[in-house]
């Protein structure tokens, strides 16, 4: 039962994953925390998912599946994410010509939906209470780097990891 509901969660994530992986990170969190993974585990998971090759949603599925049910879970969760996209592409091949959608309006509608999903993601990812000032600073710094420079966000991820490690080593910290 647990296994099936993990698959169902990731299937749903696959259905709404338009417009890049970050859109669904919020939904992934809503579906998996705290049932399969805890709060701290989730934010390191997302950092790992972003810093390894491959789309974020897929990586997150693989990791949560793997943590909860081993290799079988990893395979099954990964395939659940792509199940709906595969069906959609296959179905479009069959009915594509007959269904006429206004492409411009569709694109804008999906943009609206995607932006809303990103805002939800942001809301769910913001730490609630118990703020570590160092981590807040690192988060703000990564925002500035990614929003105002063309630097690869990987630098922010690895840099922040290294910085926090250095600070904890130098000052002890809790």
């Amino acid at each position: 039962m647990e296994f099936l509901s993990l698959l169902w969660s990731f299937f749903k994530i696959g259905v709404v994953s338009f417009g890049g992986g970050w859109t669904v990170v919020g939904l992934i969190k809503a579906e998996t925390v705290p049932r399969w993974i805890d709060e701290a585990g989730f934010s390191s998971l997302v950092a790992i998912a972003q810093a390894t090759p491959g789309p974020v949603a897929l990586n997150a599925a693989t990791l949560v599946g793997w943590k909860s049910f081993g290799v079988l879970g990893a395979v099954a969760a990964t395939l659940s994410v792509v199940a709906f996209p595969v069906l959609a592409v296959a179905a479009a091949g069959l009915v594509g010509r007959r269904l006429r959608l206004d492409q411009g309006a569709l694109k804008e509608a999906l943009r609206t939906g995607t932006l809303a999903m990103m805002l939800m993601t942001l809301w769910l990812l913001l730490p609630k209470g118990g703020l570590d000032p160092v981590l807040v600073l690192l988060g703000a710094g990564s925002f500035a780097l990614a929003a105002f420079t063309k630097a690869n966000p990987l630098w922010a991820i690895f840099g922040a990891g290294a910085a926090n490690l250095a600070i904890k080593l130098l000052f002890g910290g809790s």
Binding site: G14, G20, W22, S44, G54, P153, A162
Partner: protein, 188 residues
Amino acid sequence: MEAAAPNAPEKDPTPWRLFRVFFGISAVTVGGGYAMVPVIGSALEKRGWLGEEEFYDLFATAQSFPGPLAFTTALVAGRKLGGAAGAAAGALGVLLPPFAAIVLVGALIGRFGDLPAVRAFLDGAGATVPGLVAAMVFKMAKNRKWSLPRVLGVAVLALALVLAPKASLPVFLGGSALCYLLERRWNS
């Protein structure tokens, strides 16, 4: 006398070759779909399999499907080049490298994740995630052509999603469908 067309395919895109191309790109490109797609485009073009314009048509199609962008691009391009077998080959090529990388990293973290040093590194890395998401929201919002229905659409949908994140699926699909109708009405 037959002159070879410029960029004539030297080797046909068999499923095995498609698999290898996508596998290679997926293994070395970090940072998600938007980083991978241009690399895929130039790889297919270099082999004479697809012209640039053809590829960007496919990419536009891929974008209108749900699913990770690199994955749907591989599906659509694989299908165009090699039918169902090509689509399967391209899709598997994209899926396998990150899968292996994650299982490896996951195993390492399972083993060493409780060491204070590893914990500190992961905490620092994890702290960047809200910042990076906020930066993406900022960029998307900045580059969009805003109109009243779009502002309202984003605000109402975001509020509904925050209040009921578990209901994302119906809220997102229903909301996007409504926005589609609004867009058509507003623009005609």
